[in-house]
């Protein structure tokens, strides 16, 4: 079987495209490749319109099955290829985009999915929301990025030193003049953005990672990540704990516009002994693993997640979490492996809708629940090593059930086979325009 794959961020461009639309699909592709290679011959295309059908026709001529997995939202998936095309998409809201906003019919994902006839996604939440839009029998399957197996080597790695080698921008809240980032100073500076602290390069080579470390890896331009609550609640919960660190690793090509706001968030909570570390640096695999293994808890309080690769990596490697239990996180977060942060619905918009119309429901993180989760998790890390060890094991086990090759492979194989079968039966295919009312 030939498996054609595509996403719009080329591997070589990913560092420049961090924080831009769909950049994270590149990381998903990287995680899927080993699994796909177990199932068939993988060919990554750079230009689907010109490459996919040529390969497909060559395959057809020799009767070899061929399928195109487009790692993109349905709205950006090609709709006019002869090759069976399946969008592989992440979605973290309650309502699939079901309006042709911007004058573009493809923004109504229902129309694209109906045309393509199937979809592949990464969580049972997205499967349920897709079926809510498309009908209960729509062929859509949940296959998360199968990264669990890869992380087991990291899990078994001997404990690294408490020094994180880093080559990039680091801001340590305890060594920064936070008063310079108060609200009035920020407003006075407008339209300019306040400059970064002068000592951001001071930490080159090493960050001390001892103590209780909470790590969140996210794009600071993504409002869903709720960094303000992360910071505020951390400073409130552990303000007197000098060995507590909140490490925010920023995934963005240029976070200098957002950092002053993040420093203001630390300032608003008043003097605190705990440390907030902002890290904007490329970490190679060994450095990334040192960060992971020095992390006590992985942190996620987003308003929604399509799967959340960093959280999955950390938990697969046995790092318990402080996290919400909604959307895709509902598939792997439970009280055995995480300190659960409560949440409840609120109104939201589709992130790519330029009208920013209220069209869907997302999750509101409960602030005080997060404060309690920080306090309880800190206590466990300091005083209950047995509980911590049990949570670590539970995290690895939970993610094994969610995103190991053992789980993902048969599910994906079965799904691809059914997709090929549907494509072969002309009566079942939905390539011609139909009216679905």
């Amino acid at each position: 079987m030939i498996l054609l794959i595509y996403t719009n961020t080329a591997a070589k461009d990913v560092s420049q495209r961090l924080g831009k639309p769909e950049y994270s699909y590149r990381f998903v592709v990287q995680e899927f490749k080993p699994l796909l290679e177990q199932i068939g011959t993988v060919i990554e295309v750079a230009d689907p319109q010109n490459e996919v059908d040529a390969i497909y026709e060559a395959c057809s001529a020799r009767s070899e099955p061929c399928i195109f997995l487009c790692f993109m939202p349905p709205s950006k998936t090609p709709i006019d290829l002869k090759c069976p095309t399946i969008p592989v998409y992440a979605w973290e809201f309650d309502h699939l985009p079901d309006e042709a906003f911007g004058g573009k019919p493809r923004n109504d994902w229902r129309r694209v999915l109906a045309r393509l006839g199937a979809g592949l996604t990464h969580s049972s939440h997205t499967v349920a929301r897709t079926r809510a839009a498309m009908g209960p029998n729509f062929p859509v399957e949940c296959v998360p990025a199968p990264l669990w197996d890869r992380m087991q080597a990291v899990r078994r790695m001997p404990s690294p030193s408490h020094v994180l080698p880093v080559n990039g921008l680091v801001i340590d809240s305890t060594r920064t003049d936070l008063h310079a980032y108060r609200k009035s100073a920020r407003i006075e500076a407008l339209p300019d953005i306040l400059p970064l602290p002068p000592n951001t390069g001071e930490y080159q080579g090493s960050i001390d990672m001892s103590g209780v470390v909470y790590t969140a890896i996210f794009n600071p331009g993504d409002a869903r990540k709720r960094w303000m609550q992360m910071i505020n609640a951390f400073c409130e919960a552990l303000h007197d704990k000098s060995d507590a660190t909140l490490l925010l690793k920023l995934t963005h090509h240029d976070p200098s516009e957002m950092l002053p706001n993040m420093l203001e968030a630390v300032y608003t909570m008043g003097p605190a002994a705990c440390r907030v570390l902002f890290v904007h640096a490329y970490l190679d695999a060994p450095e990334y693993n040192v960060l992971l293994r020095n992390t006590t808890y992985a942190l996620n309080v987003s308003s929604g997640e399509g799967q959340c690769l960093p959280l999955m990596e950390y938990m697969s490697a046995g790092i318990p979490a402080v996290a919400c239990r909604h959307t895709s996180m509902g598939d792997y977060i439970d009280s055995e492996c995480a300190f659960i942060v409560d949440s409840s619905p609120e109104l939201g918009s589709w992130p790519h809708d330029q009208r920013q119309s209220y069209r869907t429901v997302r999750q509101r993180t409960h602030y005080h629940s997060l404060v309690n989760a920080y306090r309880n998790s800190y206590y466990v890390a300091k005083h209950e090593p047995d509980v911590y060890a049990a949570m670590s094991d539970a995290a690895a086990r939970s993610l094994e059930r969610y995103c190991s090759m053992r789980v993902a492979r048969p599910r994906l194989q079965h799904f691809l086979q059914r997709s090929l079968d549907r494509h072969r039966l002309p009566s079942a295919q939905s390539m011609s325009p139909t009216r679905i009312l």
């Binding site: 950006k76 019919p105 493809r106 129309r111 608003t268 330029q354 009208r355 509101r364 005080h368």
Partner: protein, 496 residues
């Protein structure tokens, strides 16, 4: 017994001052004056410094005299011979204990313990506030929670009215009014340039892609026939006009007649007080009733920058559109009669605040027999329960700034509202008013009874009598002892 009443805002200026800092203290003064008149002579002072002259005369005549200051503690007049009782509203779980804000200019009164220590006693409106004060002043500090008194009944309670869905209700107001039916709301009118939508388009997409039913309907079904009064110009034989068409400008204040159908939800609030949380109110209402033209939300809005609030409102409604329900905004002051007619037209009062020192409009509407949708946080914990309201969950502890400080550092907290629970409350309340009239009437009757028991004039008269009886006895004792003797709690405070 003489009661001198002082508030920084008085009756002659209130029309211009709606929504200004402390404006609601005037309403408090007005409400308490009615009851205080039964306990003694009431004199409203324009200037607190007039108090000592009156106090001197009273002392000469052997009459008790006390100044009630309707103001936050840091604005309480101090240094008077006349005993002062601060009467204040406060919606946060702690009180200022440090002169920590630059804008407070080192004025020691901004440490409220100093003021409360000097006055020696205080009245607040809620148990929540009394607890906050006791945490700072000590358990024994004489603070009493006495809510604003309300008269037995200004109108007949709601339970005796016909239910609102029985027939259309006419509401006549002389005010600036925005009616969502008269605003050309178009979600495509807003473009957020920073949002990136790179979805491709090809002209053949319309033909190639299978069609689906539109997820949202653009227009209210029966706008034309049922909202016939939405025509322009004066309504025949009356000085009233239908609501005017409205764009980005606030419409002029003129006599308007509104025909209301179905369930009417009303909220009275000042949007610029962020704690009032009108975003949750409007989004939850329009989301819940997006397919229901029988629900109307009336917002009676006050504030110093209504034209800004108007833009905010239109932006919210635009992003929510299309919806079939109706949103009406009333900007500015209503006369007492108009206010009462608004209450009479209302099925439910809605409060979505993150914290409250009392919420007088909510209390008033409940007293008129209008059941509520409200959280039971802060002061509302004293009177909101499921007998009279659909209680919306909220969660304490969200950090925020002092409302009267520099707004730089979070020094207190308020609540997060559960938006999902608010949507459920809208759904359930609609169902009850629509299908379970007996329960609605029961809630209505209980609301009136509960408010009379909570803050009816007689109840408050008794509470005030007890307070002053005790405190003036202490005051007399204090005077007979050495003048340098200071109340115990003040000594405690100094020794900290």
């Amino acid at each position: 017994m003489k009661f001198l009443l002082y508030a920084s805002i008085n009756g002659s200026s209130i029309g211009d001052q709606l929504g200004a800092a402390d404006y609601s203290y005037y309403f408090l003064l007005r409400a308490f004056a009615v009851v205080l008149q039964k306990l003694g002579d009431v004199i409203e002072l324009g200037d607190a410094s007039q108090a000592d002259a009156i106090h001197d005369q009273c002392v000469t005549k052997g009459e008790e005299c006390v100044l009630l200051s309707f103001a936050p503690p840091h604005k309480t007049p101090l240094g008077l011979e006349c005993p002062v009782v601060p009467l204040f509203a406060w919606e946060y779980p702690n009180i200022p204990e440090h002169i920590e804000e630059k804008s407070w200019h080192s004025d020691p009164r901004n440490d409220w313990r100093v003021v409360l220590g000097a006055t020696g006693r205080a009245i607040c409106l809620s148990t929540h506030t009394a607890e906050a004060v006791r945490r700072s002043m000590g358990r024994g500090y004489p603070i009493t929670a006495i809510p604003a008194p309300i008269p037995a009944s200004l109108t007949r309670p709601r339970a005796h009215h016909s239910l609102p869905h029985d027939a259309p209700t006419l509401l006549r107001l002389n005010a600036s009014i925005v009616d969502s039916l008269r605003v050309a709301l178009d979600p495509n009118g807003v473009v957020h340039a920073e949002t990136i939508d790179e979805a491709p388009f090809h002209p053949s997409d319309h033909d190639v892609l299978p069609e689906f039913e539109h997820a949202r309907h653009a227009k209210p079904h029966r706008a034309e026939d049922d909202h016939a009064d939405a025509a322009e110009g004066f309504l025949e034989g009356t000085p009233y006009s239908a609501p005017l068409p409205c764009g980005w400008e606030i419409p002029p204040s003129i006599p308007i007649q509104i025909t209301l159908r179905g369930m009417v939800y009303t909220s009275v609030l000042t949007p610029q007080a962020g704690r009032k949380n009108w975003e949750d109110l409007i989004t939850a209402f329009c989301w819940t009733f997006r397919d229901n033209e029988d629900a109307t939300l009336i917002l009676k809005l006050a504030g110093r920058d209504l034209s800004h609030n108007h833009l905010q409102l239109l932006m919210m409604l635009t992003k929510l559109s299309p919806f079939k329900c109706r949103v009406i905004a009333i900007y500015g002051y209503l006369s007492d009669e108009e206010y009462a007619s608004l209450a009479a037209a209302t099925t439910y009062y809605v409060n979505t605040s993150l914290c409250e020192g009392l919420c007088l409009p909510l209390v008033e509407f409940l007293n008129w027999g209008t059941p509520a949708i409200a959280p039971n946080n802060t002061a509302m914990a004293d009177y909101i329960n499921q007998d009279i309201a659909f209680v919306v969950k909220s969660y304490p502890g969200l950090p925020t700034v002092w409302p009267h400080g520099d707004h730089q550092i979070n020094r207190t907290s308020y609540n997060q509202l559960d938006w999902g629970a608010l949507v459920e409350a809208f759904e359930q309340s609609y169902d009850v008013a629509h299908r379970d009239v007996a329960r609605y009437r029961d809630m209505s009757a209980r609301a009136h009874q509960a408010m009379q028991a909570y803050c009816g004039n007689e109840v408050i008269e008794e509470a005030l009598r007890t307070f002053f009886h005790r405190e003036l006895a202490i005051e007399r004792n204090r005077r007979t002892v050495s003048p340098s003797t200071r109340p115990l709690h003040l000594v405690e405070l100094d020794s900290r």
